[in-house]
Symmetry: C2
Subunit: 200 residues, 2 copies
Amino acid sequence: MPMPEGRPDRRVRRTKALLRSALLELIQEKGYDRLTVQDIIDRADVGRSTFYAHFRDKEDLLLYGLAEIREAFRPGQDTATLQVFEHFARSAEVWRAMVGRRGGELFLRHLHSLLAELIREQLAARAPAGETVVPLEAVVEFATSTLIGLGTRWWLGKGVPLTPQEMDRLYRRLTEPGIRAGLRPAAEPNRRPATASSGR
Amino acid sequence: MPMPEGRPDRRVRRTKALLRSALLELIQEKGYDRLTVQDIIDRADVGRSTFYAHFRDKEDLLLYGLAEIREAFRPGQDTATLQVFEHFARSAEVWRAMVGRRGGELFLRHLHSLLAELIREQLAARAPAGETVVPLEAVVEFATSTLIGLGTRWWLGKGVPLTPQEMDRLYRRLTEPGIRAGLRPAAEPNRRPATASSGR
DNA sequence: TGGTTTCTGAACATACTGTTCAGTTTGGTC
DNA sequence: GACCAAACTGAACAGTATGTTCAGAAACCA
């Protein structure tokens, strides 16, 4: 259990910092999945037992690094997605290394839940009181998947030369209509759920 | 190198089949990432050297299994996405085990590129001749991310009780407007977005 | 049937993991 | 500056997985 804390020992800070940057470096060099704890402690020049004194395993360390990123996204402005794209652009190399390589999937999973939170707040604020045409959670999933798909897989991944502003416009152009449609209040009078629609 | 075909030796068929179903079983029991080659060959009751005679590693075997799924999606109808949702529903347990657990990310990566292909075909057919407002590839990414996000993470993952038909409608309701907007021809002098009233 | 291919099973070298512990270094504090 | 507690070290260890090799047995197919 984490002690109530009053700032960790300087040695602890040093060690964790060393490990975190070793991880970052190595991710860029070899990709997350080809990485061993051995590599990390070698690079950080830290004793094996020291590593395990602080982190359960490789992923635990990854999560520790992620906490920082979470902060960067926190200030939930109205233009939250733009901030995300800007953050991507600011440290494009790292991100590309994180998500582009084999093994980046794990990282994307964490990123996804992180961004979903952010987006959920935004959408919840926009949603009408009662039920919506499409369940709020589905709209959240829709917006998040797209944000990550476009932002990492396409933009970063393929190195498309667009500015964060342009990306944000593109993102909104694609998602906004769907979000608007999805967040409409579910029809009052006789909306039958299991509508075997005759459409088409 | 793959021989020019002519149907493999019966023993080969048997072995591969054993390994494939062992993999499937074990994925459902322990999840893909907790799985070792050792587990697989134990379950399949196949010699260690035999495994490596056919597959490079765990993932190679996974890909082999995936080829089957690829076939299931191939018949590119106009309602391709409905087929995908139906396929999800048909073997929901397996899919949930595949993508829901830790380690499923790798699987999703492969699924993504598989579905992107499918969707690319569809959209390319709908796209106008020249450039589009949003690059075609971005629209493909948009549609694919959403399909997978909604289909696996939300629908299967959370066990939302909707039929494939309902899912397809939900999917289209969210994506169709964005796709339409994205696929408009670019930079025609003053294309007014008033096209909304046409068919459906 | 007989020649070919595949499977077996065990052995092997290599690598990583996570734990332990006695001994050293460092930090914070009085 | 001295002292205690905490963190770090480094090496060792058991456990487990990997991927390769090979000679002999088994199965296949024509």
